[in-house]
């Protein structure tokens, strides 16, 4: 097995051996369930859109909470030394940890399929936006996780890791809201950087390569920074 997968297996086990996974999954499903069912009962509307709509905001709090420990904890307790003196490449450590957090997020998202089933049993489910929405959630979640892994690799303090990850995600989130206030010439750039704008496109059921590329680039850049930060111990 590739060392990255061995590491991610260990991290997944660490998540599920501790309360972290259960708390995150429970809080996540309760919050999304509340938002979904209020809509359903108050407005008598079986629709996935409000559920997807709140996700960029919700991820901002939930994902830094699951990523903050990934590297920072190992730096703090010294286990990183034993891990990276084994025959593993630095990027394998980072990618392994990224995949573990992505797995946890997918577990939480899997449980929310109950909402899709509810909608389907009450009326016709609009398949395109639903599938697009979930694909978008995984892509956007991946970007948030990569930001979190990067923040975690920069410090040995988990609280700092949380706050940095939150701040970066929030900044990317704000870009989407700021488009009206910036000069017209840089508007396209600002709106392109917006982390939830691309998700809105995908969750309409249109999977455009521009949006996919945006998330994949955020993931690549953040994981690269995280790997570099791990390597920085070797700078002369």
């Amino acid at each position: 097995m590739n060392p990255a997968l061995v590491i991610s297996k260990r991290e997944i086990r660490a998540y599920f051996n501790s309360p972290v996974a259960y708390i995150v999954v429970t809080v996540f499903t309760i919050l999304t369930g509340y938002l979904f069912f209020t809509q359903l009962f108050l407005e008598k509307q079986a629709d996935m859109r409000p559920f997807f709509g709140v996700m960029p905001l919700l991820f901002m709090f939930v994902i830094p909470a699951i990523t903050m420990r990934l590297v920072a904890e190992e730096k703090g307790s010294g286990t990183l030394e034993l891990l990276i003196t084994m025959p593993v490449r630095d990027w394998e450590v980072i990618v392994g940890k990224f995949l573990a957090a992505l797995f946890l997020l997918c577990t939480a998202l899997f449980l929310t399929l109950a909402f899709a089933i509810t909608v389907k049993s009450l009326g016709p489910l609009d398949r395109g936006p639903a599938i697009g929405g979930y694909v978008g959630l995984v892509l956007m979640g991946g970007a948030y996780i990569a930001i979190g892994v990067m923040a975690s690799s920069l410090t040995r303090n988990q609280i700092i890791a949380f706050i940095v990850a939150f701040a970066i995600s929030f900044a990317l989130f704000l870009f989407g809201k700021l488009t009206q206030f910036v000069p017209e010439s840089i508007q396209p750039i600002v709106s392109f950087l917006s982390i939830d704008g691309h998700f809105e496109n995908i969750s309409r059921g249109v999977i455009d390569s521009r949006d996919v590329i945006y998330y994949l680039s955020v993931i690549a850049v953040c994981l690269l920074v995280a790997t570099t930060s791990l390597e920085s111990r070797k700078w002369k």
């Binding site: 060392p3 590491i7 030394e81 034993l82 111990r233």
Partner: protein
């Protein structure tokens, strides 16, 4: 050349403006157990971290099993087993889970690793705690687990940072035996504060102080290299010549201190007219003939004359507390603590 497993040349590491390791050069051959000694903060752990590819040297090179620690770090890491200081092991895993994780990470075949884990677990005395969480283990067991993971893949080179810290005396003996046994065919570098441990397990000693290598040799060569010898003489003087035993003792002491090559002479005790003196020599020459002649000339009866062997403790203290004549390193060696 082929049996040189570790080759270190002018290895230097700076932490910001502070120099932790300063141009250290040494070789380690196959089958050697090398003891790494030095006060806290002398640069032992830093050197080990560079050999295990955790840190990169600021200058100089280190080759482990023929591979450069910087350019071919993956190759190096495949061939070593490393026990870091304080044994940092995931606390949320059980002993067995951790060993399985380490085996998988090293790409060991699942079938083979199961047998190997059982074997190494038995050798390190871990069989009883296989299902326990690492966070529940005592320091001694955690240390054994650290050793077990370092030896799991049967590496050619073992680098152990304070392998016996936190163990009880019985465990220390067991681990030393284990190290000795493995050291026959493999290469081991271990660091320690316990000097008797070095004498018991190591075939060679490096003493490092203030980042500089100050001694390199076998335990025997280091202790015999120590120049200022120490002697113990027991003499009896004819009672008639002196008014009292005390006077006799004082007279003998005075004449002994006047001998050439004697830097100090203390009275240890004097019972039944037999006076015991401790003599510090100021030269490396053997003083025994001189002392014997003095006894004959003065008509003292020589009951005992022993040249005491210098302990490794004395060598260590001499080399690391700054009465070393090397004046350039003096400032650093007088305050080794400042570095930690």
């Amino acid at each position: 050349m082929s049996d040189v497993m570790i080759q270190v040349e002018n290895l230097t590491k700076d932490y910001g403006p502070a120099r932790a390791v300063d141009k250290v050069t040494f070789n380690v051959r196959k089958g050697e157990v090398l003891g790494f000694l030095g006060p806290n903060g002398a640069g032992k752990s830093t050197t080990m971290k560079m050999l295990t590819c955790f840190l990169a040297p600021t200058a100089g090179t280190a080759r482990v099993a023929g591979h450069d620690v910087f350019d071919e770090s993956l190759e190096v890491r495949r061939r070593i087993g490393y026990l870091p200081e304080d044994t940092p092991i995931y606390r949320d895993m059980t002993v067995l889970e951790y060993l399985e994780f380490a085996a998988e990470l090293r790409g060991m075949d699942a079938q083979k690793s199961r047998g190997r884990i059982k074997e190494i677990g038995g050798r390190c005395g871990l069989s009883d705690v296989a299902g326990k969480l690492v966070s529940e283990l005592s320091k001694g067991y955690r240390q054994r687990l650290g050793l077990a993971q370092a030896m799991l893949h049967d590496p050619d080179i073992l680098i152990l940072d304070e392998p016996t810290s936190g163990l009880d005396p019985n465990q220390i003996v067991e681990i030393r035996e284990l190290i000795k046994e493995i050291g026959k065919e493999r290469t081991i570098i271990l660091s320690t504060h316990i000097l008797s441990e070095v004498q018991a397990t190591c075939s060679r000693i490096l003493i490092i102080n203030g980042g500089k290598l100050v001694a390199d040799g076998t335990p025997e060569s280091l202790t015999s290299r120590e120049k200022r010898g120490r002697y113990r003489v027991v003499l009896q003087a004819a009672g008639a010549a002196f008014r009292s035993p005390e006077a006799a003792q004082e007279a003998i002491r005075t004449s002994l201190s006047r001998l050439a090559g004697v830097s100090a002479c203390q009275t240890v005790n004097g019972e039944d007219g037999a006076h015991t003196f401790g003599i510090d020599a100021s030269t490396p020459d053997d003083l025994r003939p001189l002392l014997f002649k003095a006894a004959v000339d003065n008509k003292w009866s020589l009951l005992e004359l022993v040249r005491e062997s210098v302990s490794l403790e004395a060598v260590f203290r001499n080399l690391t507390t700054g009465d070393e004549p090397k004046s350039e390193s003096k400032a650093e060696s007088t305050s080794p603590e400042a570095r930690s």
